[in-house]
Amino acid sequence: MLNRKGRRWGADACVVGFSGGGVGAEFGDPLRERMVVPSLKLQDLIEEIRGAKTQAQEREVIQKECAHIRASFRDGDPVHRHRQLAKLLYVHMLGYPAHFGQMECLKLIASSRFTDKRVGYLGAMLLLDERHDAHLLITNSIKNDLSQGIQPVQGLALCTLSTMGSAEMCRDLAPEVEKLLLQPSPYVRKKAILTAVHMIRKVPELSSVFLPPCAQLLHERHHGILLGTITLITELCERSPAALRHFRKVVPQLVHILRTLVTMGYSTEHSISGVSDPFLQVQILRLLRILGRNHEESSETMNDLLAQVATNTDTSRNAGNAVLFETVLTIMDIRSAAGLRVLAVNILGRFLLNSDRNIRYVALTSLLRLVQSDHSAVQRHRPTVVECLRETDASLSRRALELSLALVNSSNVRAMMQELQAFLESCPPDLRADCASGILLAAERFAPTKRWHIDTILHVLTTAGTHVRDDAVANLTQLIGGAQELHAYSVRRLYNALAEDISQVTAAYTVQKTSEHRALFLRTSGLLS
């Protein structure tokens, strides 16, 4: 059968207003006359939506289809329910309301068919959350699915639980998830582990349930399980100092795993650009950072390996650089040897000169993290940082600005201010305000002379007056007020600024504020004219 667009429909046709399947009309029986209304297959729906020339047209197509879907749901047709929900989820992505599909998700999840569960669970993840009472109703289905032993189904249930599981659901289902941690299938185990992380975030007391299995899980060879376990241990350590102390004893094990990855050589299964499972390496390095922080013994255990990674990692590809950056951050955060720290900061300095902008961005971000703790080490790279101010890339110049401001001190303030003032004149508009206020703050902290300070503020006001906060003007007047010897100078500067650009509202405002100097002003301007 062809509809008027010549498209084949049949299996997907929904019968409006009647229960049970069946296509076709029985003539001569008005009471049982059936109106078969064509409803689109998902591909056809997508094509119709794509074909719509205007937003209004698209809305019309979708609203028409949603009417079909609603009717089909009311109908209670179990065979096509999953297709109807799939269509609904598609239009939901485009921003159309889909709340009437929530209960259908529940029905699909409760079905015995994998096809139904797959869409049903997806629908639950996209449409349901804690605020809907309906969300609790899937707890039972999840419990059943977790215990049935069908791996793909267990996977779906765990995925859903880790995405939208509320605290109540997590409490209910923790025993089921715990059982799955030590099951034979790595596929289910790795998902159970990450679900445990989510559960701890929702119900911190569950840490006591999921802490004990960790030690055993660390001996697994499967990368997915290891990755999840490291994530779980990290979560536990970040939440509890007791857990942190407990897991310090696995530092040697972690070092061993990382060393194996680093020295293992090229293995196709997990390597990215010749680096063995960089994702796992990065996770381990993050955990080592947490465990080694402020702990002499742990730091010592990992020192050699960190040095090895820092010097031997291939930096020609992104994957290697990801590992290297993480190594540098770990070195700087733990109690590492002084030589190693210098090496780490120098690696960052080298990266600042890399042609790859992503590398430069991460280098700037990393240096920013270190500027408080290792100020002198980072200072050594100040010239390169200042160079980055000239970047055309707004993300990079923003980082460079933050770092430059953090590097200003009493000995470099004049030079730095020159650079920053130059940057202020040409920087992108969304950075102006931050740059201006940063300069003013730095000027206040490190001004070598009052005159220099006044000049700096004036320059900022004239360059970026509209982006400056009002209290900057108040500060200026206060400053001028407190420097008798500079009154004439100040007023002259102000007048010149006004003469140059009368539209500088702030400059005019400043003059207005210094009304007590009006007499002086008039005298001075008389002198000038």
Partner: protein, 239 residues
């Protein structure tokens, strides 16, 4: 933690929207629009990192994105994630999509890409993949006959498949698996499970309902074919 994964085309039309933190529907759409506008402003040869928009969470969050021809893949992450690592993760995801959809035009159907720039290159040359996938000159194109297989469209090439694949890579906002072979094997097993159900279990139900609705015409009880002299052999021993 990964807060959201968004895929949209060059016109800002969403192709995949997945949040790992709950936002009301209107806010979700706003975030997609805002992200698109932020990302659209970026040239192709500057870095892939952006400070996040105002809606999605403030200074701790950033947007890490990749632009492939007509699609933007955007991951919104917090400061606990490795920026360069996420770049590789996006690549793993895209390559896995490539492996899972046998026909280039299936992906085209979901993503409506005019020209598909996906590669057959082995994992080791990820960097080459990355640089050439940025589109523009020097890109390696594997353009299968885009229109030959329209008629072979399978039921499976709709938006939800991309979600299923994503679910094997990222779960609950955390990285689950990055071994592409394992992910593909799992997806194929699940697809087979679906196919086996669709074929066998639905058919009997459909057959029954079809039979129930057969409109049989009235069969005459008496057929008069006139007098026929038919010699019938003696079959008494079989009676």
């Amino acid at each position: 933690m990964i807060q959201a994964i968004l895929v949209f085309n060059n016109h800002g039309k969403p192709r995949l929207v997945r949040f790992y933190q709950r936002f009301p529907e209107e806010i979700q759409q706003q975030i997609v629009r805002e992200t698109f506008h932020l990302v659209l402003k970026r040239d192709d040869n500057i870095c892939n990192f952006l400070e996040g928009g105002s809606l999605i969470g403030g200074s701790d969050y950033k947007l890490i994105y990749r632009h492939y021809a007509t699609l933007y893949f955007v991951f919104c992450v917090d400061s606990s994630e490795s920026e360069l690592g996420i770049l590789d993760l996006i690549q793993v995801f895209v390559e896995t999509l490539d492996k899972c959809f046998e026909n280039v035009c299936e992906l085209d159907l979901i993503f409506h890409m005019d020209k598909l720039l996906l590669l057959n290159s082995p994992l080791s040359s990820l960097e080459t993949v990355v640089s050439s996938l940025h589109g523009g000159e020097g890109s390696v194109t594997r353009v299968k006959d885009l229109y030959c297989c329209r008629s072979q469209r399978t039921e499976s090439c709709t938006g939800k498949e991309v979600h299923y694949i994503l679910q094997e890579v990222v779960m609950g906002g955390m990285v689950l698996e990055t071994n592409m072979n394992e992910i593909v094997a799992q997806i194929e097993a699940q697809n087979r499970l679906e196919k086996s159900e669709g074929g066998l279990s639905a058919a009997p139900a459909r057959a029954v309902s079809a039979v129930k609705n057969i409109n049989l015409p009235e069969i005459p009880r008496n057929i008069n074919i006139g007098d026929l002299n038919i010699k019938v052999p003696n079959l008494s021993q079989f009676v």
